[in-house]
């Protein structure tokens, strides 16, 4: 080993392999690892690739069900949507790179998640994103928003997959670590799905896509460490995206997948050539021999270490059935993509790498993949917070003013400035996207009357206030949003964003959120089919609020029977489904009006959630509802304001009784929906609610051009729209 290589080896050991893990590598090899092997061990055993801190908890998730074709463990989850069709989806974080270099970080996040989905044989049909930025007035926020949005749009628009929805929050807890979570959804024939498993000895290993460069080396290990003041120096570890090549790669892969050539396939994401080859070797139970001289290279003089750790984008590794090389070559040449046979599978169970005539790596694959370290990190439960009901909080002086204050707040304000930069209509199947009054995005299954409903949800302030209930609520809200769109919820993917797991309080947030999510998934028959964990979202010891983002998919059997909230008409009866207790703990009202981030989050009763949701879905399918909107941030007031803005029809709410008016308007009790129906149909809805034992309260009538409360407080639709559209244009400079 040269002096340089030796110094680099020492750096890797110091920075990325704790002493016990280094000792383990020596034990596995029976000797000290060389530089290439050290690099491979360090990325495969990084938190990002090995889930070493989270695996013990992730086992709690239900991962099977009638409609689950493939659960976690492959590139993405696969569910059955009937008629021989499957939906393939996953969500993934690109937090660390997006903070360092927002455009490319976000763009490559989109590219990576798309590859996870089309690697399995799906044509991607929808993109979603869940974004969390720091406080609006933080000096970095504006440039981060601008860069991330441009990056998501720049990639998704070019590659031709519609970006149909998502969510965006702002909070000072993300000042030092923004979250960029991207979700991709694709469609495939259920009998033509491709896996990382399936390789047999003696098959050619084929590299396709872009050439390998020096970009992104050690990206996976960067994503497994905290930030400090010098993190901008990590910029060279951020990859550069090329959506044009990705588009060609999608078409070429789908063309090849229509033939019978592929035994196993894996995209080169985090840890690039290393993880893709190790995973296919491990899952297929075969050895891997590769000649690195054959790897298409963008730069001269690349070392084996650099090639194995590069995270250059838009690359795939596939293991073909013998004799099919020419089929693949013809297709990839047509699409002007690199294609090279770089090795073959063996029966040795070892990963053998050759470069310039020398063996540069010889590792047994099983221990590398399966014996990654596993940590049961110590954790503590979050302290219980107090219950805060409306009676514990002063009523606002002016209710109209309070409603406007909520609707101009960053979390509730219109995100049109963002979604206008995303092509939401390409592929011509988008029935509802961010611009439309629907609680979930709705994308038709091409050439059918079926549609997918898709949503991403998480309420970080609930997870901060009570991780267990917060975890439950994230799943319940996703389920509720799909339901309100008229869909049968099927399954979820997740993106678990937390701080440093080596701290017991953070590990506790993780453990409790997962516990809550798992409970909700079980109760709602809503299994987890794929997901991603992003830890170490922390800067100078300050962690982000716990943010287990949920991406969920459901099926609308007939697109003409879906729920929306833009068709409220004069005279419609307004009804509230669910019980209201005026829960203001951890509410948006408490934060935005009172400036207090206190109290326990609203409890989630999963039985009630299911009962109320099943009732609402049935009413949608009976065609009884003119509008349906779930209640979440900002409670009834926010939902009513959104219905009014979308419909152009006013809502006249009336409330009397023991519950204080601000509890009625702003409480965030769960399992609730605002629905509207003509007087004739409202009768049928009430009868059905009685029969189902679902609490249903008539709360007013539609009409006029304002949201009014008890005839006393009035907010015009015009004012609502004005304030609701003010925040982002002002922040972003018009």
């Amino acid at each position: 080993m040269t002096a340089n290589a030796s110094a680099l080896s020492q750096d890797i050991i110091d920075d990325h392999l704790p002493p016990e893990e280094y000792a383990r590598t020596v034990e596995i090899l029976g000797r000290a690892p060389n530089l290439v092997e050290l690099g491979i061990f360090s990325v495969m055993w990084s938190e990002h690739c090995s889930y070493k801190s989270s695996r013990v908890h992730l086992k709690k998730f239900p991962v099977t069900g009638d409609k689950v074709i493939q659960g976690p463990g492959e590139n993405a989850g696969v569910i059955d949507i009937g008629d021989g069709q499957a939906c393939i989806f996953k969500m993934e974080s690109h937090n660390h790179p997006s903070y360092i270099e927002p455009y490319q970080g976000a763009a490559t996040g989109v590219g990576g998640i798309l590859r996870d989905v089309f690697t399995m044989g799906a044509r991607p049909v929808a993109l979603m994103n869940a974004l969390r930025f720091g406080a609006p007035n933080h000096p970095k926020t504006r440039s981060l928003v601008s860069g991330v949005v441009a990056g998501i749009g720049g990639y998704g628009n070019c590659v031709g997959v519609p970006t149909v929805g998502g969510e965006t929050n702002f909070h000072s807890g993300y000042d030092g670590n923004i979250l960029v979570n991207a979700m991709a959804v694709g469609l495939a024939d259920a009998d033509n799905i491709f896996y990382a498993r399936g390789a047999e000895p003696g098959q050619p290993i084929v590299y396709v896509g872009s050439k390998t460069g020096r970009d992104g080396i050690h990206g996976a290990t960067m994503a497994s460490a905290e930030f400090d003041d010098d993190s901008a120096e990590n910029r060279p570890t951020v990859q550069v995206g090329d959506p044009f090549t990705e588009k060609k790669l999608i078409e070429a892969c789908l063309e090849l997948m229509a033939t019978d050539a592929i035994a196993a396939i894996q995209d080169m994401g985090a840890a690039g050539l290393t993880s893709s080859s190790v995973e296919m070797g491990d899952k297929g139970g075969v050895g891997i021999t590769m000649n690195l001289d054959a790897v298409p290279q963008r730069e001269t003089g690349m070392t084996a270490y650099e090639m194995m750790l590069s995270e250059s984008q838009e690359r795939m590794l596939m293991i073909l059935k013998p004799g099919k090389e020419s089929v693949a070559e013809a297709i990839f040449r047509k699409w002007e993509l690199d294609v090279a046979v770089i090795g073959e599978t063996t029966d040795t169970g070892r990963m053998l790498l050759k470069h310039k005539g020398e063996t540069v790596c010889d590792i047994p694959i099983k221990p590398l993949a399966d014996e990654a370290p596993l940590y049961e990190r110590p954790w503590v439960r979050a302290p219980k917070r107090e219950t805060i009901l409306a009676g514990d909080v002063a009523a606002p002086q002016d209710y109209a003013e309070a409603i406007l204050t909520l609707m101009v707040s960053p979390d509730l304000s219109s995100k049109a400035w963002i979604w206008k930069q995303y092509d939401r209509h390409v592929m011509a199947d988008t029935a509802a996207s961010s611009e439309d009054p629907s609680d979930a995005a709705v994308v038709r299954v091409h050439k059918t009357r079926k549609a997918l409903a898709i949503t991403t949800d998480c309420t970080p302030r609930y997870c901060q206030a009570g991780p267990m209930e917060g975890g439950k609520q994230a799943v319940a809200e996703a389920w509720r949003n799909l339901t309100a769109a008229g869909a049968d919820p099927i399954a979820i993917t997740d993106c678990l964003n937390f701080g440093n797991p080596e701290r017991p309080d953070i590990m506790g947030q993780f453990a409790e959120c997962v516990e809550g999510m798992a409970e909700a998934c079980r109760a709602l028959d809503f299994p987890v089919v794929s997901g991603n964990v992003s830890l170490y979202n922390e800067t100078n010891g300050k962690a982000i609020p716990p943010t287990p983002a949920v991406g969920a998919v459901g099926l609308i059997p007939d697109i003409s029977k879906r729920g929306t909230f833009g068709n409220l008409a004069e005279g419609d009866v307004l009804m509230l489904v669910g019980e209201s207790h005026g829960w203001l703990g951890a509410s948006l009202y408490l934060r935005e009006i009172e400036g207090r981030e206190e109290g326990a989050p609203p409890p989630v009763d999963l039985k009630v959630e299911k009962r109320n949701g099943d009732f609402v879905r049935a009413q949608i399918r009976e065609g009884r509802l003119s509008i349906v909107h779930d209640l979440s941030d900002g409670g009834l007031a926010a939902a009513a304001a959104e219905v009014a803005m979308a419909s152009g029809t006013g809502l006249n709410l009336a409330h009397e009784g023991e519950l204080p008016l601000h509890g009625f308007l702003f409480g965030e009790d769960q399992a609730r929906y605002l629905i509207g129906a003509t007087e004739a149909k409202a009768e049928a809805v009430r009868a059905a609610a009685d029969e189902a034992g679902v609490p249903l309260t008539v709360i007013g009538l539609a009409g006029g051009d304002a949201l009014t409360v008890n005839g006393e407080w009035t907010v015009s639709i015009e004012d609502l729209k004005r304030v609701n559209n003010a925040f982002l244009p002002a922040l972003m400079g018009g």
Binding site: N157, P243, F244, K247, K420, Y422, V426, A428, E435
Partner: protein, 220 residues
């Protein structure tokens, strides 16, 4: 009507174009790869679809305008047969010189995707005749470089000769004289930034775009 859709690497509205044509004409168009040198025999109508040909890393449409298929497209144009270029297709047609002017970066510098209300300025073209007396339509737009530019003399000529077919009601991108779509002098080639092919279905984007394809069908 026998039609064809040209597919460049990076085209991404080719399927949308295919489906819209099939829906209206009842016949699936031929999908013609950019490396072909001829259109299928008997092709009556050619659509150049939207997308990001060659990634649009150079000037939008510039690379595509030098593709192998372009001479065949020119020959089709010289015969006076109809060509419709939408979005990136419009950019390709200006880059080939089949239509005057150029599409620059949007005035606001960001990509814009929204439903754009348009006025039909000329209802007597073979692309708009089916609209009858209808003068207002809404088509989706989705582009980063839709800011139409031409010199004043060209703009005067376009307006004077009825070559301005669509105008934006609320100019979203800084286009000269609110121009959203134009034809060549013969009225046989139309380029437009808004997407009529994304507005042929009540479940997706409305049905205002049907008229463009119905007009073509009627004139064929």
């Amino acid at each position: 009507m026998k039609s064809a859709v040209i597919v460049f690497p990076g085209s991404n509205c080719d399927r949308d174009a295919h489906d819209a044509i099939e829906r209206v004409t009842g016949h699936a168009p031929a999908m013609v790869w950019h490396q072909e040198t001829e259109l299928p025999d008997g092709t009556e109508f050619v659509m150049v679809p939207g997308g990001f040909s060659y990634g649009d890393y150079l000037r939008c449409g510039a690379m595509a305008s030098r593709s192998a298929i372009i001479p065949a497209l020119r020959a089709h144009a010289e015969r006076g047969a109809p060509i419709l270029g939408v979005c990136n297709g419009f950019q390709v047609l200006t880059e080939t010189g089949l239509l005057p002017g150029a599409l620059m970066r949007n005035a606001g510098l960001t990509f814009i995707c929204e439903k754009a209300p348009l006025t039909i300025e000329n209802g007597n073209t073979q692309f708009t005749s089916a609209y009858g007396g209808q003068r207002e339509v809404v088509f989706p737009i989705a582009h980063h470089d839709g800011n139409y530019f031409a010199d004043a003399a060209t703009l005067d000529r376009l307006e004077g000769e009825g070559q301005v077919v669509f105008r934006y009601a609320n100019n979203p991108n800084g286009s000269a004289r609110d121009i959203a779509g134009i034809t060549n002098a013969r009225g046989t080639i139309m380029g437009m930034m808004p997407h009529p092919e994304r507005a042929v279905d009540a479940d997706h984007g409305g049905t205002d775009g049907l008229g463009v394809f119905e007009s073509l069908l009627g004139s064929a």
